[in-house]
């Protein structure tokens, strides 16, 4: 069996999870605690990847990350290499695709924190930012873990959006979901079955952990 696509999928999911936990935590905090003009528009925008067909999201990402796109052109100018069809491009695509799955459980967990704990922290000398780090985050561990699991599993299973921006370059962008698709296309059902079974087992194990978390 070719282990490289599976290894690439795990690597992608892990990197995405770390990036999204760092990026989504303050965003979820902003959505949970702040009131500002245009908040509902911003929240709808963050959640859009969940509603969009992956190919539509992939198309727009391809435009932005491509050599004529705002981000792609800057990247190429800076590094001399195109951004699309690289591992980095599928990391970005997967992170955007999974953003709502990171945001929602964290936002819900943050909103459940007793408001008086925050007020107590402010009176005890903390700024809102340090209260977020010292009080909100440690008391939202389950929500954060749920976010991490959802992002990991969702990134492992991403297909259309990755194919659009990354194609299928072995060792670079050919992740397990794409390798399974290609194996089926070439009628190699045994290879597709083995990889599918491994993905299924990993995803099921994570779902079990998530159920445990939501019960506690």
């Amino acid at each position: 069996m070719d282990w490289l696509p599976l290894f690439l999928s795990l690597k992608l999911a892990l990197i995405c999870t770390v990036i999204l936990l760092v990026v989504a935590a303050p965003l979820a905090g902003l959505l949970a605690y702040s009131r500002f003009r245009g908040k509902s528009f911003l929240e709808a925008l963050f959640n859009l990847p969940m509603a969009l067909p992956p190919t539509v999201l992939g198309f727009y990402l391809l435009i932005f990350l491509g050599p004529r796109g705002a981000i792609g052109a800057l990247w190429e100018q800076w590094t001399g290499f195109p951004l699309v069809f690289s591992f980095l491009s599928i990391v970005i695509a997967s992170a955007v695709y999974s953003l709502p799955f990171a945001l929602m459980p964290m936002k819900t967990a943050f909103q459940k924190i007793d408001r008086r704990l925050l007020e107590s922290a402010y009176v005890l000398g903390l700024t809102p930012a340090s209260a977020f780090v010292r009080v909100v985050l440690p008391n939202s561990i389950n929500g954060i873990a749920t976010s991490a699991i959802l992002v990991f599993v969702h990134s492992m299973g991403a297909f259309g959006v990755l194919l659009m921006v990354g194609g299928s370059i072995p060792g670079e962008t050919r992740v397990a979901s794409i390798a399974i698709y290609e194996a089926v296309q070439s009628l190699d059902y045994a290879e597709a079955g083995r990889m599918s079974l491994i993905l299924l087992t990993i995803s099921y194990a994570f779902m079990l952990v998530m159920n445990r978390l939501s019960r506690s």
Binding site: S120, Y122, V123
Partner: protein, 239 residues
């Protein structure tokens, strides 16, 4: 150093409009029926709510002044606030809770020993009793070396014996700390036991007639006051 409060705050049911002053080493009791606006006043002092009009100052230091557009955040006021239902940080032990805003480990240890919870320093808040949690909340507030101490019905959820013990602790602290202390209660006997000054609050305003009026359970859990106690109260009332 005295705490001067003169604030107005619009609420959906009535406007809070009060003016009083509390000297250092003095316990000022805000008393009145539930929902009279006592907690709102304390929250305004703490900086957790912003007054619509008025001024709050500790000595020469202005904490809030609507005319000058000043509204210091709670962290800059450096005060201690013991809430009604001890919201300790559940992820921290009692020791870490008490030391939450203090760098002085020796002082935190002294306070915890003084309040009899040092042996519980490694316990989480959900593993100790309400009285122990509230003792920890007092340690947490005092470890910050506050310039003003706010106590919002701090012992209302505790049994009578624990309440009396902790109340005695507060009276003892008054002399040692020498800072203005604002104590909220709806219990007249508690107010009489600890107050230097009593400020009766009804519907957001100071109303001294409330003290002498007969009341029912809904209005504050106290029946008409004994004439002797009422006389004592009249003597101590300044507002």
């Amino acid at each position: 150093m005295a705490l001067d409060v003169k604030v107005k705050k619009r609420r959906h049911d009535f406007d809070v409009d009060v003016s009083f002053s509390c000297k250092g080493g003095e316990i000022l009791v805000l008393i009145g029926p539930s929902g009279a606006g006592k907690t709102t006043i304390v929250r305004l002092i703490a900086g957790l709510e912003k007054p619509d009009e008025g001024r709050i100052a500790w000595g020469d230091e202005i904490w809030a002044d609507s005319d000058k557009g000043i509204d210091q955040p709670p962290r800059k006021r450096r005060l201690g606030y013991v809430f009604q239902d001890y919201p300790l940080f559940p992820h921290l032990t009692l020791g870490a809770n008490a030391a939450f805003s203090s760098q002085d480990g020796a002082e935190v240890e002294r306070l915890m020993k003084r309040f009899g919870i040092y042996n519980l320093r490694d316990h989480k808040p959900d593993k100790v009793s309400g009285g122990e949690r509230q003792r920890c909340a007092i340690c947490q507030a005092l470890a910050r070396e506050p310039r003003v101490l706010l106590l919002d019905e701090p012992f209302s959820a505790l049994d009578v014996t624990t309440r009396r013990l902790l109340r005695d602790d507060i009276v003892e602290l008054k002399g040692k700390l020498g800072i203005p202390m604002i104590y909220v209660t709806h219990d007249i006997s508690e107010a009489l036991a600890i107050a230097d000054v009593i400020v009766p609050i009804v519907s957001g305003k100071i109303d001294r007639s409330w003290i002498e009026r007969p009341r029912n359970e809904q209005e504050g859990g106290e029946q008409a006051l004994h004439p002797k106690a009422a006389r004592k109260l009249r003597l101590s009332l300044v507002y």
